[in-house]
Amino acid sequence: MNRRDLLRASGVAAAGALSGCLVGGSSGDSDADSDSQFDSPSPPWSRSNAVYHQAHRKGMAMIGTAQKGDRTIGLSYTYAKRFWTVTGNQTKRVAVEDSYNSIHLMASVWDTETGTVLPVDSGLQVTVKRDDEKLTQRAMWPMLSQQMGIHFGDNFLLPSQEEYSFVIDSGKPTVQRLGALEDRSKDPITAQFSLDFTRSTRNEIPIEPRGAQPLESRGEPDALPPMEMSMQPVAVAPPKDELPGQLLGTGTNADAVVVFTASENADGTYLTVSPRTPYNQYFLPLMSLSATIERDGTTVFDGPLSTAVGPDRGYHYGATVDSIMSGDDLTIVVDSPPQVARHSGYETAFLDMSDVSLTV
């Protein structure tokens, strides 16, 4: 029986430091229900197969962080938010039904030393408890948002204003790990956090702007920048010229930017494919990609790419091939687009993806 160690995180300290952890802009005071006034299935300002700038800037409040072995779990919350779940290239909009006592809970896991955000294929779970009563258990959605990047999240309607505990089980990462992450433990980690939920504290989380007018750039081909957070890293992909190896080129596809590099390793050449969002450079996880390399009309490689994460490359897709030479035709086939739920501004992008090709 694999009963896991339960880590009691510094929930009280985190709650005490709460006001210091409200980030994201100026604070308001009214009961601002985030999305409801713009809650239509397809906002008129949304852009076909492209990222658009969301209507409001919203902050979040840290519930706490908990270090366990070489990893850290961070838990935060904000107002309940609408989002879209993704299956294949189909989406389903999840509306905020009852915002009164609701929160949007967000969890992420990162390598403590390098700050590398660990991938989201691990099946992280949360159990919400009141005293010792288990209220609900969820495997939260891997999600992408303009201000928070990749995280696990879901909306929770809390029964009342009182203290809750959230037990986070990280799940077991499956992705291949490179470099300094190679020898890190793969066992699941568990941490317990507590939140004394009040609407008034939640409503101190900043929203901009507060009035009926949205941000000026709403609907533009742009994105809100990542939130500046002192307590947890954001899942950005490395700038293309900082990726290890030789930069082979970049392509775009359904508004995703795909960067290719090649570097030598003991077995040949390692092809790195790093798809990311435009503007914020968040890595795009949970895709299935294959590659073909043609040289002088002959296919010299044809196979799937595996997912991997390393401190230099972040989360990416890669394969070791015999060689990549100047003049090779490289094609990346998108077998399935990123299977992550989307917050506003990302729900139409990175879905109907075609092949990306370049000549080295």
């Binding site: 029986m1 993704v86 294929d121 969820r138 499956t174 992705v175 949970l286 399935s336």
Partner: protein
């Protein structure tokens, strides 16, 4: 005390539909619930429950199929109401005790006919039982089977699975076995389990059948409006299709001291219906429960009515599971499980049912199989661990794993009927 609860139950009956009320009584259990159940039956002129004859019961405890009846497509109709009664030995049992226990079971068989309008039941024994009586257990102790579960384990000695279409029958049979009712269905109990066994923990209850999940969900709350009215299971679709079920022969122990018996595994699950119904659409639910092909080709219908007697996952669709994971980003629960067939036949005979034990929607996934290893193999195929990271996550897009949470597991040996009373003593 009892009178007070009875009054309360009668009041309650006015607020709830008849079927909601009966299910509530089964979940509550005990003499007060039974009494209220019988009062209600009396006032609405239900048909008499047929009595039975032990001589007409077959040699296999798990041989129920012959008397279950079929739906319009030819799928067997599972009995609607269930109780799993846990039992602990309170004595160091001897052969006289064995005769007493057998007599109690035979009394039940005299009281109720061998069919779903009467009573169907099996008696199973845990590894703890065999240890207690100093015998080697023919089955392994339960263990966690997936990386993200931390279940409790059934550690009591024996379990009686009671099943009937009549809620008053499962309640009355339970009380009669433990000595609280002396003449169930007007047949005198010649013996009871009292003094040999006492009730253990946890008592589990449930129901299966068109409309029951919806009505029961209304009674306890926590079940989304999107659950179709006529769905027989909480996930919103039919289940237990004839083609997906192992035969009774397939799950029967073929040799050794318990030849003719079977094994039972009970996996008690909480089902996260809120995310399943409110955050996924029908297409996504079909893709995750059956296969992406079922979703894109609209093969299922609203609740599975288009499927007839077969999910159609065996063969091509099961074989392309890993390709689907990469190309579709999602794979179906049925599609994955069908990979664990032997010579084309499934290994498990499912007798699972819905539950609201703990006022939370869930499933008691009870199945019979020849060996516990057959269950483990099928469950691991369903977990799809090797597929994670290759197009689908550990639980996201990986069948229904995102929505189910394992609470408890138990393994049982179900001896052949002539050995069901305290085996190995």
């Amino acid at each position: 005390m009892e009178a007070v609860s009875r009054d309360r139950m009668t009041d309650k009956a006015r607020e709830l539909s008849r079927r909601e009320y009966f299910q509530m009584l089964v979940a509550t259990g005990g003499m007060a619930a039974l009494s209220a159940c019988l009062d209600e039956q009396e006032s609405t002129e239900t048909q008499a429950v047929p009595q039975g004859d032990p001589a007409k019961r077959p040699a296999r405890q798990h041989a129920w199929n012959a008397v279950l009846g079929e739906d319009e497509h030819g799928n067997l109709r599972p009995p609607a109401h269930r109780v799993l009664v846990p039992l602990n030995l309170v004595t160091d049992p001897n052969e006289d005790d064995s005769a007493t226990v057998e007599s109690a079971f035979r009394s039940l068989e005299s009281a109720y006919a061998y069919d779903s309008e009467g009573l169907l039941f099996t008696v199973g024994y845990t590894p703890s039982y065999f240890e207690t009586v100093g015998a080697e257990s023919p089955i392994p102790a339960p263990t966690a089977l997936t990386s993200d579960e931390d279940p409790a384990f059934d550690s009591f000695d024996a379990m009686v699975h009671l099943a009937s279409n009549r809620p008053d029958v499962v309640l009355e049979a339970e009380e009669a076995l433990l000595g609280a009712v002396s003449a169930p269905n007007d047949v005198e109990m010649e013996a009871t389990l009292d003094g040999i066994f006492q009730r253990g923990e946890p008592r589990r209850t449930g129901f299966v059948g068109p409309g029951l999940p919806k009505s029961k969900g209304k009674a306890v709350g926590g079940v989304p409006d999107e659950l179709p009215e006529d769905a027989p299971f909480f996930m919103g679709f039919k289940s237990g299709f004839a083609e997906s079920q192992a035969s009774e022969d397939r799950v029967t122990v073929a040799s050794g001291p318990y030849e003719g018996g079977t094994t039972t595994h009970v996996e008690s699950l909480t089902v996260q219906l809120k995310t399943w119904f409110e955050q996924d659409n029908h297409f996504q639910r079909v893709a995750k429960l059956f296969s992406p092909e079922h979703a894109s080709d609209e093969l299922v219908g609203n609740i599975g009515e288009k499927l007839g007697t077969s999910t159609g996952v065996a063969g091509d669709i099961a074989q392309q599971t890993s390709t689907d994971a990469r190309n579709e980003g999602v794979i179906g629960h049925a599609q994955k499980a069908a990979r664990a067939r032997e010579d084309g036949e499934p290994l498990l005979l499912r007798r699972d049912f819905n539950t609201v034990d703990g006022d939370r929607p869930g499933v008691h996934f009870l199945s019979h199989q020849q060996t516990i290893a057959d269950f483990v193999r099928t469950r691991k195929a369903m977990a799809g661990g090797a597929l994670a990271g290759n197009g689908v996550g550990q639980n996201h897009g990986n069948g229904i794993l995102q929505y189910i949470f394992v609470r408890r597991r138990g393994n049982f040996l179900v001896p052949p009927r002539d050995m069901r009373a305290l085996p190995a003593i």
